[in-house]
Symmetry: C2
């Protein structure tokens, strides 16, 4: 085999997710994204993903195709105790490595079950059956052991489908094993893939595209990716495992993206909008309260997803009825009658009423029409007003028009409100 | 080709999702679950799914493998206007059908853009390039046309990756075309796959397994599926495209599952807990208000995801601080001091305070420790109290202990609270 081809193949990976419920059951495979990111950090690129049901022949066929294309194959699922779990048998059949009960697999599993006060049942005993020639991969979280083997030059690992177990085993065992394998090889080492993610809000995909025109030249081994979602456009820069890039060039490109997208960048990496807002609130020792109508509690829910949010979230009011706006926030009946519940004036009154009642540093408010009902001739579905009261007469109100179904309008509205808060907090920091 | 093999192959399908962001970008493919469900209703079973990047050779390779296994291949994505969109070229290259600009594709696209006040740019003109021998599939939602062709006996459709466009094209064009194809065939028609889904709450996977022991005999062509999630265990019965089942047998099995799982069944089909609770509230003309602490607004958010929720949701209070519990719900300071904010007594006072203040028929309350911080020696992370006040002295409080991270504990807590409400409403209906 020519040196370059084999070296390239060692750095190509595939994932195989196993489980009939992934084909039709409404469960989507989230494991493979984690695996792709973990492998990228060591210069191994996932090129194909496959999903197959609990079908021994089908699993074997997919594995056989994958090992012809890739040097690394990570399988997830099908290692449980029930008769539907066919990964062990499928790998044994297609590789010709017979299954045998392995002491280390059996002992690891029984020790784990004993911790939970249980003894293995007949199904669980099947979980200690591992193909000959494979090494047993201990499961530090659950009872199902995994295994890894080399078949016709391809490294194949089989891991449980439970995300927490899969993750722990990838990090503790599989990644170090692949790194060793790459080190032992006489071929050129792959380049670790660097992936930098910018989460933006407030720009369309076309706007981002225009702003980033010419930032990355076609000759550079950096892939620019744009991905639109209800939470904004995700921008990624990804380096290649096959071509080196000077660190200072990558740094310069990252800086240029930062400069072009400026304050539209909400977060870098895997942080969420609520993580960023939470950090700013902690840093500035401010407390917050939220008054929501059309988002129905989503903004409070998002703020309180962050561990430690109780340090800055004081309260939220979901004022769906007009009476609730009056009772909970002191919005006057006449104001609602004059301007309508969905108006700049009511958004302003909601924020001010909430800030005063809660005694917090800053209050956020939102009122709008999430649809599909509720529109009038002058107020369409998607019309949203967002208010902020930061005390000392500092108030902001903004009008937005969002498109999409009820759920998308709620999501975009919550993102716009949190972004208004983020920008306000950033200005306070700079002041 | 033997008759049975070809007939079987016509009823086997594969999906191919195209897009580099699906490999590593944090976006998961949700289109293929929709496609699998739509095909199942006409007796066509999805056996494999593949995901491939924006890579012309890779797309061609995957399509070539898929057409050897399946009679129907549905591709999604890669039909956009940018140079990254390679599906057209990949299909042309692997099938040998050259690309040509097609009048119907061009006209459909320009008409759609004209509605939006735009003219096609150079990239969009590429979208009218369609492989020879393919029929153009009109896009009733967006501008990108799709196409379908028969290649070596396999029906191949290429659809946009945008879910709303893909769905409309599947329903309006692709499914009817496949039905026609199956009708014209001289082979035995497949059996439509029936899939019945039960969403349960309150039972573990092992409990469900025990209750359903022996309900489906091994000889019957019905697959029983169990899938655990933070919202409970999903139970499915799926018939086979290859074996007939008498309708009365299926009905009897469905009835037996209903009898065994009884009130633990929250919903059948794709309804959510909040859909079910919403319908019961409308039917009984009741209004609701929610007082949340540890769930931070999630219960209100879920209730208001349902179109028309403004008919019954009056308000919600997210009382994160103790002062908010006192201010917003009238929970007495001394009660909180005596029992702690996370206690049965405070849950009771929150529900009662909310019902009285909002003047609604029923109020739901929740207080607990979502973690990772906040636990004490006697009150662990995951300890949750849920209260309900239905007026006229009708109150319930319940203690729960949930496991998982902050997000999972919030989700399970919201599900438990909505289930308490669901059961209470069901009892009122029967009364």
């Amino acid at each position: 085999m020519p040196k370059s081809a084999s070296s390239a193949r060692m750095c190509l990976a595939e994932t195989i997710a196993i489980g009939s419920e992934l084909l039709i059951g409404g469960r989507t495979d989230s494991n493979s994204v984690f695996i792709a990111e973990a492998l990228a950090t060591i210069g191994v690129e996932v090129r194909f993903k496959s999903i197959v049901g609990d079908d021994e022949v089908g699993i074997g066929d997919v594995l056989n195709i994958a090992r012809q294309r890739a040097g690394v194959v990570i399988m997830t699922g099908g290692l449980g105790p029930t008769v539907d779990d066919r990964t062990r048998e499928a790998v044994a059949a297609v590789t010709g490595f017979r299954l045998a009960r392995r002491k280390e697999a059996f002992e690891g599993m029984t020790a784990r079950l004993a911790q939970w006060g249980r003894v293995p049942n007949r199904g669980q005993l099947r979980q200690a059956l591992i193909p000959a020639n494979a090494i047993v991969l201990p499961n530090p979280v659950g009872s199902a052991p995994g295994f890894a083997l080399t078949w016709k030059g391809t490294y194949v690992a089989a891991l449980p489908g439970v995300p927490s177990e899969m993750r722990a085993m990838m990090e503790k065992t599989v990644i170090p094993l692949i790194v060793d394998r790459l080190k032992q090889s006489t071929y050129a080492r792959p380049h670790p893939i660097t992936r930098v993610i910018f989460q933006t809000w407030g720009l369309s995909e076309a706007d981002v595209d225009t702003k980033l025109q010419g930032v990355i030249s076609k000759q550079e081994p950096i892939a620019l990716g744009l991905l639109a979602s209800p939470n904004g456009v995700l921008v990624s820069l990804t380096t290649s495992a096959h071509h080196a890039i000077k660190p200072q060039v990558l740094t310069a490109r990252i800086e240029e993206v930062r400069r072009q997208l400026a304050e539209w960048i909400v977060a870098e990496g895997h942080d969420s909008m609520e993580d960023v807002v939470g950090r700013l609130l902690v840093e500035q020792q401010r407390t917050i309260a939220v008054a929501e109508s059309c988002t129905g509690g989503l903004i409070s829910h998002r703020l309180t997803q962050v561990p430690g949010a109780s340090a800055y979230v004081d309260r939220g009011a979901v004022c769906y009825s007009n009476r609730a706006k009056t009772d909970m926030l002191g919005v006057s009946v006449s104001l609602i009658e004059q301007y309508g519940a969905v108006s700049r004036e009511v958004a302003h009154a909601m924020a001010t009423g909430m800030r005063e009642r809660a005694g917090v540093s800053v209050a956020l408010s939102i009122t709008g029409i999430a649809g599909p009902g509720g529109a009038t001739e002058t107020k369409p579905v998607g019309l949203v007003y967002i208010g902020l009261d930061g005390g000392a007469g500092e108030t902001i109100t903004k009008e937005f028009r969002f498109h999409g179904d009820r759920s998308v309008i709620k999501q975009r509205s919550s993102q716009a409100a949190l972004d208004l808060l983020r920008r306000w907090l950033l200005e306070r920091r700079q002041a």
